[in-house]
Amino acid sequence: MPFASTTRNVRLGLSSLAAHKLRSGLTTLGIVFGVASVICMLAIGEGLSYEAREQIKRLGSNNIILRSAKPPQEPGAGGAAMHRVLQYGLTYADVERIATVVPGVQVIVPTREIRKDVWFHGRRVDSTIVGTVPWYPSITNRRLLAGRFLTTLDMREAANVCVLSSALARELSGLWNPLHDMVKLGTEPYKVVGILESAGVGTGEGFEGLPQTERQVCIPLTAARLRFGELIVDQQAGSMSMERVELHGAIVRVSESDHVLKTAEVIESLLKSFHEKQDYEMIVPLQLLLEKERVKRLYNMVLGLMAAISLLVGGIGIMNIMLASVSERTSEIGIRRAVGAKRGDVLAQFLTETVLLSGFGGLVGILLGVGMPRLITRLTGMSTLVTAWSVLLAFGISALVGLIFGYYPARRAARMDPIVALRHE
């Protein structure tokens, strides 16, 4: 059997590699970088999909997020639109229709968002006022840290009560607990009845077009409608534009995750039939996840190809050096054959040596490949994730490269005519 005396071959191989430390080291560089890049690329790919999964978790995989969007301006209407009130976006009627008509909708949470300054004891913080309904925290998975959230009674009375996001509360008051105190939203005084956790699902940190949750004040939707109106005046560089928006967004929770995409389609067609213009947009986190997975697959394919090329180059380098080694040790091969080594013994000896060489390169590559993603994360902020299976895969590949590219030189050594080899000086 050619692989009978493995330990002997391993010892032999190690001593012969140790005899040429520099050469062995340089030879393995190709494998080192190949393996490192395999791990690195998988780490980046995994990081991408981890990030996507986290974002989706934040947005809620059962959620469908609707946002009002300013419709594209009709060409030629630019001048006239200056003094006209632009009306667009989701309406209360939309929300009502979705809640009653679309099957599978568990709950729908409409929001109005108005940028206003919040005042507290002379301190001012620019923040977003969110007019919403009592079940807002549950759909976004945000915890109430103190006090209570808005109630149906607040809604009915359009009460001047508000709930601050924890980050905003900290910024406004420092060590002072603002609970049960009064804050001013613009010019209106509101009583703080609760503190809500800043981040949650459905509130899209890092998603364009979604409101930030850091500095947020929640008030009853009815109060927002009553006190702040639906007209938003925007003064910019001397020109003035007015917009009328009933609702800025709505989060729909679908009761079964299997039906999310289908429900989204139904909502889309429903909205389409009542809106002349595309003045809303729909974000389906599940769809985003699928898209990100597709991007990741593509990315993995491209980088996988690059890693494969570098492993190929590394393998060829190893083959090259092993061929040199075989011809350099021709006389040794002759001697071994003369004293009774079979072809298989010689084959196994050189093959073992190559596998050791590439395996060693693989180990160094793994160290590098585990370290590099950390560096990438630090330098670029891209999240990376080194998984155990990627390390195993990389090591397996390096050993395989050794086997494949070691076979030809080893076979050449084994096929040598012992008489010719012995005569070789």
Partner: protein
């Protein structure tokens, strides 16, 4: 008992269109305990004969029985085993592995016989003593003199307790005094019962053998018993 029984051994090397007969119908019997010197001009087929006797090569035609076993039709693996178990080689240029120590070089054939490391070391050490190198066991070939190198090679040839020891110009790379010492060592082996076939072109070495075979153009021209060292 005949160690070597060869009849009609021929070896024809094919070089493209041309065929060169290195050996043409050599028949030869070597009894156990004989010391045979093979001489002849260069190109007479001495080395080819030695390679065939040593199972490094197979004859184009003819049969060869080594210690009773027909080896002329064996495959490469079987021939390797024969070399491993029954034959000891001594070369003109010593052919030691430079990276290995004296003991490791001596023990090399035992590796392929799957002898355990400790036993290998033990046997190699005893053989080193036999050839007078007990004080050099840990050295590498580069640190030894020519005579010492050939002693290592002889010890290696003895490692597997061979039935036949083959030497190809064993003194060819040595000065005359060292050459005499090596021949004395071979004589000593012979007296203890070893069977030797030595290829040489030196008259005084051939004279030390018990039998002289003279090859010319791949044929046995003369086969004479000599007084040898007796």
């Amino acid at each position: 008992m005949n160690i070597v029984e060869a009849s009609g051994l021929s070896k024809i090397h094919r070089m493209g269109e041309v065929s060169v007969a290195a050996l043409q119908g050599v028949s030869l019997k070597v009894r156990s305990g004989e010391f045979v010197a093979v001489s002849g001009p260069s190109g007479s087929g001495k080395s080819t004969l030695l390679n065939l006797l040593g199972c490094l090569d197979t004859p184009t035609s003819g049969t060869y029985r080594l210690a009773g076993r027909d080896v002329s039709a064996m495959d490469d693996d079987a021939l390797s085993e024969i070399r491993r178990d029954r034959i000891g080689f001594i070369f003109q240029s010593f052919n030691l592995i430079p990276q290995l120590s004296v003991v490791e070089n001596i023990g090399l054939p035992l590796i392929y016989a799957d002898v355990s490391a400790s036993e290998r070391r033990e046997r190699a050490r005893r053989l080193a003593e036999t050839v007078g190198l007990a004080h050099r066991t840990a050295h590498r070939p580069a640190e030894l003199s020519g005579g010492e190198l050939q002693r290592v090679a002889i010890a290696r040839a003895l490692a597997n307790d061979p039935v036949l020891i083959l030497a190809d110009e064993p003194t060819g790379n040595l000065d005359s005094r060292t050459g005499r010492e090596i021949m004395a060592l071979l004589q000593q082996l012979w007296r203890r019962g070893a069977t030797l076939v030595v290829v040489t072109h030196e008259e005084n070495i051939a004279r030390q053998a018990s039998r002289n075979i003279h090859l010319v153009d791949g044929r046995v021209e003369r086969d004479t018993a000599t007084a040898g060292a007796l």
